[in-house]
Symmetry: none
Subunit: 132 residues, 4 copies
Amino acid sequence: MSVTLEDARRVIAAAEAKADEVGQPMNIAVVDAGGNLVAHIRQDGAWIGSVDISISKAWTSRAFDISTKDLGDNSQPGKQFFGIHTTNGGRVAIFAGGIPLSRDGVVVGAVGVSGGSGEQDHAVAEAGAAGF
Amino acid sequence: MSVTLEDARRVIAAAEAKADEVGQPMNIAVVDAGGNLVAHIRQDGAWIGSVDISISKAWTSRAFDISTKDLGDNSQPGKQFFGIHTTNGGRVAIFAGGIPLSRDGVVVGAVGVSGGSGEQDHAVAEAGAAGF
Amino acid sequence: MSVTLEDARRVIAAAEAKADEVGQPMNIAVVDAGGNLVAHIRQDGAWIGSVDISISKAWTSRAFDISTKDLGDNSQPGKQFFGIHTTNGGRVAIFAGGIPLSRDGVVVGAVGVSGGSGEQDHAVAEAGAAGF
Amino acid sequence: MSVTLEDARRVIAAAEAKADEVGQPMNIAVVDAGGNLVAHIRQDGAWIGSVDISISKAWTSRAFDISTKDLGDNSQPGKQFFGIHTTNGGRVAIFAGGIPLSRDGVVVGAVGVSGGSGEQDHAVAEAGAAGF
């Protein structure tokens, strides 16, 4: 009931295909049910600052069972979770690109994508999640 | 004049009962007069990202003798404490769920709750504080 | 196949009983299969510096599926893992008190104890693990 | 003159084959000339505490253009680099498993392996480097 390396590679392959289609090189990370990294890849030319962000997005999506896009909506100034981004040692990502991976209705991991606009990152993560 | 383990367990039991009633699994933490953790529990199915947040909320409420909800109101952009959430290594929580524990009008500890909406977290923390 | 809150409380109760017998107040922490905290208690009078250590010991024992006592033996100067204690953000504990929790031969969590001598911590952790 | 994702995957595949032969599941990471992560995989059942260590070993080997085994020999108490493991935020690994990747005599990246004994980690890293 978690994410195997084979699962992670399938998710990453689906996300890579989407990133190629979008034309923006990406960092793609997959974590398991415990939030621990299973696999990460950085496509050639993708931002080096996005290595950490892709992993943080994946972790965040599993840690709160929510997309980082939706968490971000709730974490703006004046909203109920504003300030959450400094908790957990700063690894809570509150912008689009992280999506939970579910099996039989239960979140068992997550994928995190970073390398382009929020819209691009989210679209690539969605493609990855669909590959799961 | 602090919080014993027995006190903390009573607070946690009261908070757990409320969380069960609300139907949302929670992380519940209690700190003593020194802001140091006395006890923490994560209910089955509660978010793993909320372990740290529940402890941070409890610490914050004792560190500033205020509920994190009220501190949050004063920490929005443009308000007097905006930016406080990155101090103290990032463990100042500025959203609802942390409440001081008082004895004879003196704050001697705090309870922190994380796992649901801000409203739910605050309600469960209030139930915990009432159990003190 | 992980550690529930009920499991954690049973482990903590067994460890507490042993700590009382030893006569040394302890911090006792339990983590699940993902290394995430399930429950922690600090007995009255136990060292506040041991809050973090008990959690780190539990995390370490699950992270490497080994007791921190045995890991420590391999992490002394000149040994194969010397230096491991600064990895993972410094939360690798290499002294006695952390013991894996196994079910059907698989490590599914761990208990960490801190508050006395290495021998005492290890004995209390063993009692906790036996209660699992 | 660096390490592409295709290179990293070839290195990882070679290392995985060796890990399978050794019979010990491993974390395998590859960094580029800038020391930044290109790819990481955790084989099913490999230690979660070794995610960070595999990346740190790869980073260390590129950061100092040396195997972590050799760096470790020079970093024991009394030796010229003793204490280096706490620098760089603690991510300098001084035990076997990290090996530089060279092209035309120039170090252009590194591979880091963690999951078994120092001897096993080093052997798997060597297999990975040979695949480069």
